[in-house]
Symmetry: C2
Subunit: 365 residues, 2 copies
Amino acid sequence: MPQDDPTLAVVIPAGGGGTRLWPRSRQATPKQFLDIVSERTMLQETADRVRALVPPERLFIITNARHVAPVREQLPDVPPENIVGEPQGRDSAPAIGLMAAVLETRLGPDAVMAVLPADHVIPHDEHFRDILRLAASVAQDGWLVTLGIPPTGPDTGFGYIQSGETIREEQGLAVRRVRQFKEKPKRDVAEQYLREGGYFWNAGMYIVTVGTLRALYRAHLPQMEAGFARIADALGTPQEEQTLRRVFPTLEKVSIDYGISEKAEKVAVVPADIGWNDVGSWARLAEVLAESGHEAENIVVGQHIGVDTQGALIYSPHRLIATIGLSDIIVIDTPDATLICPKSRSEDVKQVVEELKARGQHELL
Amino acid sequence: MPQDDPTLAVVIPAGGGGTRLWPRSRQATPKQFLDIVSERTMLQETADRVRALVPPERLFIITNARHVAPVREQLPDVPPENIVGEPQGRDSAPAIGLMAAVLETRLGPDAVMAVLPADHVIPHDEHFRDILRLAASVAQDGWLVTLGIPPTGPDTGFGYIQSGETIREEQGLAVRRVRQFKEKPKRDVAEQYLREGGYFWNAGMYIVTVGTLRALYRAHLPQMEAGFARIADALGTPQEEQTLRRVFPTLEKVSIDYGISEKAEKVAVVPADIGWNDVGSWARLAEVLAESGHEAENIVVGQHIGVDTQGALIYSPHRLIATIGLSDIIVIDTPDATLICPKSRSEDVKQVVEELKARGQHELL
């Protein structure tokens, strides 16, 4: 921890809808609530990762109202009042801003809040905690700090962060000013970023003091601020749920990147070489499992017979999957639906989900 | 029917082990007992196809002893004494020879028996019955008659029949003497056959009088003949099962093609352009289903969502199968096992079955 030992609090946004890992993830159980990467759920792993830094009393979770119960079940040591249920998803700016308002009341403006999404994988957790400590120290100087993932290729599935001059060097890491946030680029643009250098993937992690973030909301999203005040007054009272239901849906639907980060003056990025993976598709999950010890030619959870089968991801805990003459295939089997696609097409699961919606087969969503 | 109206009897060999359509077919339920082609099972369709020619009393079935019960269930109008259970498979010569001995006792040597396997598909059934009538008439002249399927390509999965001089012309069909039976050929040999002309696929169907066939067995398989006599004496007596169990396994394991047909003098072939398909693999079943009305791009039994999916065969009555970016894929889903392979590899299901045996997973066989 930095010398003046700030009060660190971790806010875990756990509101993802989780259609990208269909059919394993469903509306009722998005990926953050699943134990697909390890024996623990992704939410539990996210909490475990920071337990050496913060006690359960300073873990806060904001999730969809209908998922408050699974969060309580999976994190029984977190005080129930730290778990806030959004009546509906309004993107990240309302969710994180509301939690900042809550933390101001509870911990005061000097507390440092770290926003760490519930559905990411971070294998190098020791290094990750070191980076969080460094980021907290930078945040205390009034910076909105984000973590930048060094790109391993010209991926078009992430937003990018363009970094500028170095503002501090510590632990061999150059903390830099953020020059610009970039939307998910086209392939040639992403390739250009990599050639140019100084770009990072935006993993949506923020570290900032409560006071700094509150000031940013007041400056850039003043209408939202008024809503937060009404909700914060009601939290912990019998009016909490009713107030959330009435006020939250009126907040502007906007991301924190667009509504706050791009407009802030003092934004810094800490390079975070932490093996990060957002598990945003089955192909990405295959990468994670290959890295964490499943070194076999095929990654198999469950029963599989593969004849001339290479590079497959087979998930089938209930039934035997037999494949013949297939390369880089993904097979995800569940009691009521089975997905089969090449790794290169795993992002297109969303088209299957769209088709299910169009057919009205809500029981499979 | 020919003018002198022979007593026609149909013998249906139904002893196939049926691993080639795994996981749908299993040891307990080989393909002839499955309704995979239509609402009726393949055995029922085989019987239905000849009901216009023979009454149920002249339908005879020889099957594995453990499958006598399903045969009785599926063909309730066939007298139970017409259904014979082999204590073990000894290839086709013992099975068909035994039925000839049975028919001699029951119907006399002048009866014509048609041997029609239980696991073939014959869409042009009206034409097929005309051909059977013609074949029966040729059989009455002392010929062992087989049906020859005009090849649609140089298939290496079938035996071939080389035909010689025409011995009779009727209904626009040239009945020819068989010059030679050929084993399953290599590709280049099969191509040579097609260039040469006069070759047919051997579908294992025989039409012959009981007297002619009995004489052929006495001449070419005399030892087997002695066994038949002992079994025929016991059939219908309390000693039937015991005698079958003791004698049948001692009979030489040999095919009728090798043991009888290749050695007979008077063998004829009737060209049979009847849309025949042996459903010997999932890819062949896909051909059958495509021909019988499922004209859609993908052949689907059950529930399927296909994104960029063409030429697929999807069989999944219990669960949704979602495929993305796959061509000519076969997906066969059952409650405890799922097969996924390209059509070009569907013959290799046997490798999966071998692996299951090697693993001792008999519950999946």
